[in-house]
């Protein structure tokens, strides 16, 4: 029986969670104070995932880049591939919050979406 101690990242509380593993299988999660902690702990020891946030270049926008995120969390091991894929993405203004800027990033099945509006150059600031 193997025990692993984790800090839950589900919310800012940061609960200390203990996961008991038997032959790689989770048999118990303790220390969490909500359901989110249980879900996080099980995932973290088997297939850890993260939301990735970054930005992509925008042509003709008020700002030179627009912030983006993976719509859902992606496997931790895919984060670097995700960033590399985003390097190649350039979108045209206007961009609206929620617009898909890249589909199925790094073959994760997850889309990358804009998290902010970026108007055409003359509309916004300056």
């Amino acid at each position: 029986m193997e025990k692993r101690e984790l800090i839950c990242i589900g919310c800012p509380m940061g609960c200390m969670v203990t996961v008991s593993l038997d032959d790689g299988k989770v048999c118990e999660v303790t220390g969490n104070t909500c359901k989110r902690g249980d879900v996080y702990a099980r995932k973290e020891v088997t297939n850890p995932t993260r939301i990735v946030t970054s930005s992509v270049r925008v042509n003709g926008g008020t700002y030179p880049v627009v912030p983006v995120k993976t719509r859902e969390d992606i496997p931790k091991g895919k984060i670097r591939d995700c960033m590399k894929a985003l390097k190649e993405v350039v979108v045209d203004a206007p961009v609206k919050i929620g617009d898909v800027v890249l589909k199925n990033v790094a073959d994760t099945g997850i889309d990358v979406i804009a998290t902010k509006d970026n108007e055409m150059h003359d509309v916004g600031r300056r």
Binding site: S54, S55, V65, R80, M83, K84, L86, K87
Partner: protein
């Protein structure tokens, strides 16, 4: 293309000399190794206009100090830089030292300092309620003042430039060779022929002097660390407060600045490295400790920045100004440590006189001795300000929120003659980034304005020229 005069160094001395020479029909060039004027000793000092009681009777330092002090009020108006005659106090903490205070008074009187007085404890406390209770008496010099050292240097240089003096930046003089009729100055591949050389190279003045003369001089970079306090401490003291040197050493000064901050320092640490402008923990600790002798409860938790400057201390502790005996046409302006800033206007005249006497040049018929600084909208009435913003909306856009500097001022700083090229250049001209957040908020915006006005990519904007780029790449470029 031979120059009449090449000045090495665009600090306060070099710039003051350049401005004086621009009164004549002379072909003058200032060569500076940094990207801007006022980048060495001139930018990191106490900003004090000394009354003139410190220097030995009969010394050049004493003479030029008192002259410079007397020129300052008028000059600050002509050239539009910040200057305030706030008066200074030298505090004496021990009756046993009183004779030294009196000696200082006598020396000052002999040097020609006007209105000196010795004040007793109660009078001192009345003038400055925050001075230490240990004080027993003080030397009061009403003619002491404070000045913006950047403002003064930049004003000299701008005025010289608009009157025809050339400036060459980012150019390091590597060799000086005597020629049949004058001098050849080498800066890497570049060479400049000139009749006169003025050596106003600050801590490097010994290097250039020693290139041409057998009578060697030696300059020690004497580092001074300073702490600058938030403007909310601005009325902590209103006079410049010195300590009378005693068994505890020379002490540090506590002074308001012309912009309303409080300045504390300097230390005096002799070093080898002529570029060693780093502060050290020991230095900063010393300031904290020593300032406590002069004033009570100085709020050192209000420090917004600390910095260090190098005084060009010559072994003889005297200004070395004049044509070098065994190098005709080579004029030293060396050993310009305190009171160098105060003396600069007089130094400019003295050096220019040497050249003018020998060359007998014609007056510059188009010389204009006045210069308008960057407009500070704060000095306008509400109506004037409204009119200005209507005409130039950039004056309605605050970029530096701590010092309330507008986009209009920054554009002016970048686009005016000898304009700013870097963040520090803008800072020294407008104070953008000099406030309590220390450029945290405004630097990206100021960088954009510099890039836009100078037509360069943002990546090329520097903090202080050279390799001081602020941006190192674009996101993901190395992935």
């Amino acid at each position: 293309m031979k120059y009449d005069v090449v000045i090495i160094g665009a600090g306060v001395s070099g710039s003051a000399i350049a401005r004086e020479l621009s009164r004549y029909q002379l072909k003058t060039l200032v060569i500076e190794k940094e990207e801007d004027v006022c980048c060495g000793t001139s930018k990191a000092n106490s900003g004090i206009v000394h009354a003139g009681f410190d220097a030995e009777n009969g010394s050049l330092m004493a003479k030029l100090n008192v002259e410079g002090n007397q020129m300052m009020p008028e000059l600050s108006k002509e050239l539009d830089f910040s200057f305030k005659q706030n008066g200074s106090l030298v505090l004496c903490f021990d009756e046993a030292d009183r004779e030294n205070l009196v000696a200082l008074y006598d020396r000052g009187v002999k040097n020609g300092v006007k209105d000196l007085q010795i004040l007793e404890k109660e009078e001192v406390k009345k003038l400055e309620p925050n001075v230490s209770d240990e004080v027993v008496a003080a030397l009061y010099a009403p003619t002491g003042g404070i000045v913006c050292p950047f403002g003064m240097t930049i004003a000299f240089a701008e005025n010289a430039y608009t009157n025809g003096v050339e400036f060459l930046f980012d150019t390091k003089v590597t060799d000086i060779q005597k020629q049949e009729d004058g001098w050849m100055i080498c800066a890497g591949e570049k060479t400049f022929e000139t009749t006169y050389v003025v050596n106003a190279a600050g801590v490097y003045a010994d290097v250039f002097h020693n290139m041409v003369s057998e009578k060697k001089i030696h300059i020690t970079p004497r580092r001074g660390d300073y702490c600058l306090l938030d403007k909310n401490t601005g009325n902590f003291v209103s006079h410049t407060i010195f300590q009378l040197p005693d068994k505890y050493g020379k002490g540090v000064l506590v002074s308001p600045t012309v912009h309303g901050n409080t300045l504390v320092g300097p230390t005096a640490i002799d070093i080898e490295n002529k570029e060693g402008t780093n502060t050290t923990q020991e230095g900063l600790d010393q300031i904290r400790e020593k300032s406590g002798r002069s004033v009570k409860n100085l709020p050192m938790n209000q420090v917004i920045t600390s910095f260090a400057g190098l005084r060009a201390h010559e072994d003889g502790h005297e200004f070395i100004i004049g044509e070098v005996e065994d190098a005709k046409g080579f004029i030293d302006c060396a050993g310009m440590e305190s009171p160098g800033l105060t003396s600069a206007p007089a130094v400019g005249k003295m050096v220019a006189d040497i050249i003018v006497k020998q060359m007998q040049p014609e007056k510059n018929p188009t010389f204009c001795g006045t210069r308008k600084g960057i407009l500070d909208p704060d000095t306008l009435t509400k109506e004037e300000r409204a009119k200005l913003i209507k005409k130039q909306p950039a004056y309605g856009n605050i970029i530096c929120r701590c010092e309330l500097v507008t986009e209009g001022e920054i554009i002016d700083a970048v686009t005016r003659p000898l304009g700013a090229k870097s963040l520090d250049g803008v800072k020294r001209r407008t104070r953008a980034g000099m406030g309590r957040c220390q450029a945290g908020f405004c630097s990206p915006k100021t960088m954009e304005i510099i890039a836009r006005e100078r037509h360069i990519p943002l990546e090329e904007v520097t903090k202080s020229g050279g390799n001081s780029r602020l941006i190192q790449g674009i996101n993901k470029d190395s992935l």
